[in-house]
């Protein structure tokens, strides 16, 4: 397609493709692209460079005059401070748990919704709803309405079932990370379900039909046709889910305010500079998150690009 454009242009204009008009034409095709490209690079990409520079400074915003070059000292401190190292671990644990559980639930729901039944569209709409609450509103709902030890719905149900002697756990203080994970899994399962449902529906129905005629059982169809076909959609769900959940701030901020060992990297970075005013340290932590994300993104881009090329060549 890219190769035919200049040739077509030359044919339409009816003269041999001279060098200068060609170059002008090339810029004329590029021009519509430039505003978006420039705007995005200036606003969202240059700050990353600034973060990289800041990460080498010893700079506490409370002592603005005492700012000097620190080499890799900030990185050393980030990697040796138990708090910050803990937040790296929390981020990994939180992301892996939320992504895998919501992927599994999403797969089950997608398989249920892939069948025809009465009210399928309505059920799909119901299932999307959790994803369409404002994230902080959803987190508030979990914190106050469901988890509250005195009047939350969970303990209310336990009380209603078990009578006065029922256990009444204080969910957030007793299982803080699990509480954050539960809230996030609830919000992200619909996302996984939507991606996997799209994958299921792009499966070749004739292939399934043929397999059934050859006497394949449901399980065989699932294991040998559906799952291999879904592989890249599963990968996409894992990778995009990871990219989004690594960056999660709202749930941790709302449910636990980073306490009880639930502070993930985004929350820690926010706290390091917004409350502790350690600009250099926060930047070093930021660079570490970026490096982790680049590793994730490399895989994610590969999956997206293989789906994309398939789509383009179709």
């Amino acid at each position: 397609m890219t190769l035919t454009t200049p040739a077509r242009a030359a044919a339409v204009s009816g003269r041999p493709a001279a060098r200068r008009p060609n170059r002008m034409r090339a810029w004329a095709t590029r021009a519509p692209l430039l505003p978006a490209l420039v705007f995005m690079i200036v606003v969202t990409q240059l700050p990353f460079v600034a973060t990289l520079v800041l990460s080498f400074l010893d700079w506490n915003a409370l002592y603005p005059d005492d700012r000097r070059f620190a080499g890799f000292a900030n990185y050393g401190e980030v990697l040796s401070s138990p708090d910050l190292r803990g937040s790296v671990w929390t981020t990994i644990l939180l992301t892996v748990t939320v992504v895998l559980v919501s992927l599994l639930l999403g797969l089950l729901l997608a398989l249920l919704l892939d069948r025809r039944f009465r009210g399928r569209a309505a059920v799909r709409t119901l299932l999307i709803a959790p994803f369409l609450l404002v994230p902080i509103a959803a987190a508030l709902m979990w914190k106050h309405l469901l988890f509250n030890p005195e009047y939350g719905l969970f303990n209310g149900i336990l009380h209603a079932i078990g009578g006065d002697g029922a256990v009444q756990p204080d969910w957030i203080s007793e299982m803080p990370l699990l509480a954050v994970e539960a809230a996030l899994i609830w919000q992200w399962t619909p996302f996984m379900m939507l991606i996997l449902l799209a994958g299921l529906q792009s499966r070749d129905p004739q292939l399934v039909e043929a397999a059934r005629m050859d006497g394949a059982s449901d399980w065989q169809v699932f294991a040998h046709i559906t799952l291999p076909h879904l592989r890249r959609y599963l990968e996409l769900g894992v990778l995009l889910g990871s990219v989004y959940i690594v960056q999660n701030f709202d749930a941790v901020f709302t449910l636990t305010s980073g306490g009880l060992g639930t502070a993930n990297l985004p929350y820690t970075i926010y706290q390091t500079f917004y409350q502790a005013h350690e600009n250099g340290l926060a930047s070093a932590a930021g660079v570490i998150v970026v490096i982790g994300s680049i590793i994730l993104a490399t895989f994610a881009l590969r999956v997206v690009s293989s789906l994309f090329r398939e789509e383009v060549s179709r």
Partner: protein, 288 residues
């Protein structure tokens, strides 16, 4: 062949029909379980504070609008309107700007593609994968030094840039659905570029553009971290307003529910309107 096709399904039909119905019921139950917390939130928002905080829960308590009155500041307390207006401004203006910048870019990546257009497209996508939290500090320092702190326009600029990659990707995939042959035909008939865009491209691409706009709106409306750091009293957005509910304040459950629902309402509306294109936007165009 024909006999096989007709007999094979018939054999499994009675069994299959029962199982199909059972799985339909399971699907309905799953849907209801997932939406139950939201239904409970809706019910609680219409209860009085005393009824909202009972254990076991009072399902059949009397309904009232007190929670909503409280939230809208009719009984004293801070009014949410300034924050709602700020959110509307930031989301609507940034969505409009995003479309204005993304449309020409998508045009140059689909209808009249530049050389190596896939590389450009993937560059846009790769920027979306970097965690914006790592850019938080420089952006904060920049806003502080240029007087943009607590100014809603700082958020407008940020949200525009934040949503551009998604918008470019979605729009590219919608514009490439416009058949090149139609555009060529219009040009041969002597139509000029604006006419081609307005009469040929727009009608085909419009539903996609609308879905893109809705998704950009949702992302801008939901954003909390930058709004929290960059705004204060004046430019506070609706999610920042919700942060006042993070610590418990006595009996306030009905009010929290009312607040969360009212503030989520625009997103719910936009999301259901864009339902069919939602995956495409969230998967950055990878899934159609």
């Amino acid at each position: 062949m024909a006999t096989v096709a007709t007999t094979a399904p018939r054999q499994s039909r009675p069994h299959g029909r029962f199982r199909g119905a059972a799985l339909g019921v399971v699907a309905w139950l799953a849907g209801l379980v997932f939406v139950l917390p939201i239904l409970w939130m809706v019910l609680t928002s219409f209860h009085s504070e005393a009824d909202a905080a009972t254990n076991p829960p009072s399902v059949a308590a009397a309904l009232t609008l007190d929670g909503y009155r409280e939230f809208f500041g009719l009984t004293g307390g801070a009014s949410p309107w300034p924050s709602l207006i700020n959110s509307m401004t930031a989301s609507l203006v940034s969505t409009l700007l995003t479309l204005l910048l993304a449309l020409p870019a998508a045009y140059a990546l689909s209808i009249r593609p530049v050389k190596k257009w896939t590389d450009v497209l993937f560059f846009f996508l790769s920027t979306k994968m970097l965690p914006l939290v790592a850019a938080l500090l420089p952006i904060y320092l920049f806003a502080k030094n240029t007087g943009l702190l607590d100014n809603i326009w700082a958020l407008v600029i940020l949200y525009t840039a934040m949503n551009l990659p998604i918008a470019v990707w979605m729009m590219q995939s919608f514009l490439s659905e416009v058949p090149v042959a139609i555009i060529e035909a219009a040009r041969i008939d002597g139509a000029r570029l604006p006419t081609v865009l307005g009469r040929v491209v727009a009608p085909i691409a419009l539903p996609g553009i609308a879905a893109t706009a809705l998704i950009c709106f949702i992302f801008s409306w939901n954003e909390l971290m930058f709004a929290r750091v960059l705004t204060g009293v004046v430019a506070e957005t609706a999610p920042v307003f919700l942060t006042t509910f993070i610590t418990s304040q006595g009996l306030f459950l009905a009010k929290v529910c009312a607040a969360s629902l009212v503030i989520s309402l625009p997103v719910l509306a936009a999301g259901f309107a864009a339902q069919d294109k939602l995956v495409q936007g969230l998967s950055l165009g990878a899934v159609k």
